[in-house]
Amino acid sequence: MSNAILVAGGGFAGLTSAIEAAELGHDVFIVEKSPWLGGRVAQLNKYFPKLCPPSCGLEIQFQRIRKNPRIKFFTQAELVGLSGGKGDYTAKIRLTPRGTAPHNVDFSLLASALTGETDNEFDLGLSKRKALYKAMPFAFPARYVLDGGTLSKSDMARVAGAKFVAPPEEPREIALNVGAVIVATGWKPYDVTRLANLGSGSVKNCVSNMQMERLASPFGPTRGKIARPSDNRAPLNVAFVQCAGSRDQNHLNYCSYICCMATLKQCLYLSEQNPDVGITVYYIDLRAPGRYVNMLEKVRARPNVSFVKGKVADVAQAEGDRVTLTAEDAVRGEKLTLTYDLVVLATGMQPSLAGESPSLPLSLDEDGFVTGGEEFGIFAAGCARMPLDVTRTAQSGTAAALKAVQTVRGR
């Protein structure tokens, strides 16, 4: 039997559940697939509606982890098996070695001297990274990771002679005894290559909303200057395509909750850099729940932003790497064909578990959201359960922590 809690996923939901449970006196293990904690929110430039930086809240969460010996976290780790039952599980965790010393070393010089490069997944393909890298300035843990596959021949020689770097070894497995599990595996941006009518991801200067976050980020590929990927020029007119994949039976059979607000926020990013940039938002419904409506009204009041109710039928390449968009204005009943410097697809969120064969005794619905598990002491938190914004994710993570605590307490 165990009073410890396992949290699968180190994004905002997982961090919240883990820290809240630990601060109530429980031992918690966080298992995170990527080399750092923070998840999707770490990729965001700002949060709506306050336009505050996500690293501000993450910094507090990381401080809470630093101070709390009850929280242990594993990065580059995956939950590969769960046996036993509620109150007494054995969780098998596969750990991929980091390839660098287990303490903080500033590898910036060595990293910049390497030649091998690969697509930077953190910037969603908008930049390249080296084999030895740290995805973000606020990386936690603040340690580099070595990706052996990206080392060039000359890199190998450099790395072989370097202090504190070890060639990656085989993954190893450990077992943890826990009483309850929180599934906070989060979400992934919907795969644009599946959106054939929206260019399948092959139209130049047609980016996703998550790519837009990276373009606007001070540590993104353009250091925060929003520019067209093809020529690094600031766009003069921009279109947002809402519900790119969402609210569509053939893709995501639900509303992704955040994309309207994310687009409004991105309208402000663009307007801040150029108050005259022309923006058109094509939408089915503008969903700004609760007091978020204030932000909707703020953006609507801007003279440079206009809104068209109507679904976008087609996105195609135009001359000069511009993008042509065809839409139906549902109120006027007109078909519109217009060309823009930059088109942003407000792609939806898909649960990370969609299409995966989960290693947990979990029931998922057809979209991949967790639908049960409570009776086994397994609780879903955040976007593994339903699409949510950060505030509601914090709520959800805290609520899941309570259920996990109840499970391991007072048995």
Partner: protein, 746 residues
């Protein structure tokens, strides 16, 4: 007071050509017996066991780690002594540039300015530890009982979940029955997967789970009379029909929900003016009573008519008169306004779908028309929306509703800009208007705090009267420690979200009781065992600390002597920043400590030749990490600044500025969080209060003949690492133009 300090240098993380052995030798020589252990470690992270051994063998009570930022390593340096870090990497070597702005060449050793800076920082670190004591926590009882105010769905859920977590519960409900607004909602929008079907609210089950639970005591027809004391040992006095009941509780969950927006706001849409126009709440009751005979029913979600007709905020009328003498008498500002309709749009969108569905279920021939501006059914509830869209009998369109009027005995809803390709007048038998959810906290001080700062939450206007935290990441933090809001009093939300919110609030309440019983802080400095200690002998009862505490932690007696409540305190230090007599201190953070660090800096006499000295007091939560990141990213700033992290700019005491000025510093920069409506300060008011105090400081400087521009505050967000070096250099440049501090060398 740390009497024996071990100083450790981390070779691997220093660099910059610094002669670390020489730095160590100087440290030994200067601090002698205070620092019996001074070591240079090739890799500090591998020397942890050695440090542990030193702590026990040499009886060290403080350990100073000189190398990377304290943020760089997470769990390595948890040691049985006080630990301080000297940030020689990010904020010294990596951010170093020559005073003429040229990049340094470290190949022939460290430049002199860098050596001087490193030495200053190490000495400041030693003094910081010397003036620091291991805090002795002040635990309180930690009563394992949670007070839940409000008996609606959120309150019922909170009560049941608190009991299931092992706590006793006292539930206070204002009305004569439990259930709250849900009493009129027997069938709700989806509460569970697959999120596409209406569901029974199961209210009776929820109520009997509470009333039948021996751990839960319910008071009906009851209200809060006062809440006094502090987390872990609050004293709640509840006014009941049988007189007041007094009970001790550890934490409070505020689940008082909402009241419907006054009907007068909906009059422009016909409510109260035209008989067949009803509110959603009235319609819910009509459905329950089987009183709906209408067949063509319009559900109007577009509230533009009401919003446009609403009088411009009757600010002045609603605001309590600025009472000077009668400061004792609290008058609640009424924050109810027409905007609550707009804020409720998502709840109403879902609610109208639910009601339209009920109508069509009862009568196959019924027709429900939903007229919306924004159909806001976000997230997974889209599945419910789709199902309703496909339901025979329900018709929805976007429409600008420009009038609701009587046309010769028929009710007509004028619709423009619809999706049907035309404007039209919809004739209906009955029109249902949305409900504005006005949080109870907008109209009443529901908790009735018996606090020095008054019975209500402060600054609710900023959040339209909702008991919300105004933080994205930390939704449960109210301005009163130990009181956690859940449900519609915090945000308008559907029933499924209320239940989840209540669970989260229970966890926070339980956590707060636990923390109080261990004598440690809750969010954001969770686990901090320090707390403000008052030297009352020198207190002049000026009341600044009691007034400025952002969390209302301090009460006072008739004379105005502050009465601390450690368990209410969030440990920001705003109280000691306020204190002109400097009688407040934390064991490990105090006025003398920071003042001594300032005095430890060697200020050169020759301004032109050796450069100025500028003190930077930087918020450790946001500005300091931004400076770390700037260093990591190779951004450099003037070598003439010295940075001291502070818990919050709210803790900055004017004496530190005087200390710096009389020491000969030429300027002081205060780096803190954004303030205003979208504040980012983790202690809510710290940077704002500091900005106000700064004005007084500037006045004082002016009187002394010192240019007030020598002290400036700047807002730095945590992600402004690429901008902050230029901010520093700009300030240093202005100081250079001003010339030396006139008091230098005096």
């Amino acid at each position: 007071m740390a009497g024996k300090i071990g100083v450790y240098f981390d070779m691997q993380n220093i660099g910059g050509g610094l002669d670390v052995e020489a730095l160590a030798a100087q440290t030994r020589e200067k601090w002698g017996e205070l620092a019996p252990v001074v070591k240079v470690c090739p890799v500090l992270a591998r020397a942890v066991e050695e440090i542990r051994a030193d702590i026990s063998d040499k009886k060290l009570d403080g350990v100073l780690l000189c190398g990377a930022s304290s943020r760089a390593e997470c769990d390595v340096y948890r040691l049985p002594a006080q630990v301080e870090h000297v940030n020689l990497r990010e904020q010294c070597v990596l951010s170093y540039k020559n005073s003429d702005g040229s990049p340094p060449d470290f190949s022939s050793g460290a430049p002199e300015d860098l050596v001087i800076m490193a030495r200053d920082y190490v000495n400041m670190g030693v003094v910081k530890l010397q003036k620091s004591e291991s805090p002795d926590p002040a635990p309180v009882a930690g009563v394992a009982r949670i007070l839940v105010i409000g008996g609606g769905v959120s309150g019922l859920t909170a009560a049941a979940e608190s009991a299931a977590t092992g706590y006793e519960v006292v539930l206070v409900e204002k009305s004569a029955r439990l259930g709250g607004a849900a009493v009129n909602i027997p069938v709700t929008s989806p509460l569970a997967p697959d999120w596409s079907d209406k569901q029974s609210a199961n209210l009776n089950m929820k109520i009997s789970a509470v009333t039948g639970n021996p751990k839960i005591t319910v008071y009906l027809d009851a209200r809060m009379q006062t809440l006094s004391g502090q987390p872990g040992e609050f004293r709640a006095t509840i006014a009941t029909a049988h007189g007041p009941v007094s009970v001790e509780v550890g934490a409070v969950i505020l689940a008082t929900g909402w009241k419907a927006l006054d009907d007068k706001y909906l009059a422009p849409m016909g409510l109260g003016r035209l008989p067949p126009v009803v509110s959603a709440a009235q319609f819910g009751r009509m459905l329950l009573d089987g009183n709906v005979s209408a067949r063509r029913i319009g559900f109007i979600l577009d509230t533009t008519l009401a919003e446009e007709a609403a009088p411009a905020e009757a600010d002045e009328a609603a605001k309590p008169a600025e009472a000077d003498e009668a400061a004792e008498k609290f008058v609640k500002e009424n924050l109810e306004n027409v905007r609550h309709l707009a804020y409720s749009n998502a709840v109403n969108s879902v609610g109208m779908l639910r009601l339209a569905n009920s109508v069509c279920e009862r009568d196959d021939a019924a027709q429900a028309f939903i007229l919306y501006k924004h159909m806001t059914v976000p997230g997974i509830l889209e599945r419910f929306y789709k199902k309703m869209q496909d339901r025979p009998g329900i018709m929805m369109t976007k429409a600008d509703v420009t009038a609701v009027r009587d046309d010769g005995g028929r009710l007509v809803v004028e619709c423009k800009n619809t999706l049907l390709g035309m404007d039209f007048n919809l004739e209906v038998d009955l029109a249902v208007l949305p409900t504005g959810l006005v949080p109870t906290t907008a109209k009443e001080a529901v908790v009735q705090f018996d606090y020095r700062q008054g019975p209500d939450f402060p600054d609710l206007r900023l959040v339209d009267g909702f008991a919300d935290s105004n933080y994205i990441c930390f939704p449960y933090e109210t301005r009163r420690t130990g009181v956690y809001a859940a449900g519609c009093v915090r945000q308008p939300m559907t029933m499924d979200a209320c239940e989840e919110d209540a669970r989260g609030a229970v966890l926070k309440a339980a956590q707060c009781i636990e923390a109080a019983s261990r004598g440690v802080a809750v969010h954001p400095r969770s686990g901090d065992a320090s707390y403000p200690v008052f030297n009352f002998v020198r207190c002049t009862q000026c009341k600044r600390c009691t007034e400025e505490c952002p969390f209302g932690a301090l009460d006072d007696d008739e004379k105005g002597t502050p009465k601390p409540n450690p368990a209410r305190c969030r440990r920001c230090g705003t109280c000691f920043g306020a204190c002109p007599e400097r009688v407040i201190s934390f064991a490990n953070y105090n006025i003398d400590q920071i003042g001594s660090m300032i005095r430890e800096v060697v200020v050169p006499k020759d301004f032109r030749k050796d450069g100025p000295r500028i003190l930077i007091l930087a918020c450790e939560n946001d500005a300091c990490p931004a400076l770390d990141m700037a260093g990591m990213r190779g951004r450099a700033w003037s070598p003439h600044v010295r940075i001291i992290p502070v818990r919050c700019l709210g803790s900055v005491n004017a004496i530190w500025v005087s200390d710096a000025m009389s020491k000969g510093f030429d300027g002081v920069m205060l780096l803190g969080c954004k303030y205003g409506d979208d504040y980012q300060c983790h202690f809510v008011k710290g940077s704002e209060i500091c900005a106000k105090r700064k004005e007084n400081i500037a006045e004082t400087l002016n009187r002394l003949g010192v240019q007030p521009e020598r002290v400036e505050q700047f807002e730095v967000a945590i992600d402004e690492y690429d901008k902050v070096p230029a901010l520093i250099d700009g300030f240093v440049g202005r100081i250079m133009d001003m010339g030396p501090n006139p008091f230098k060398g005096m």
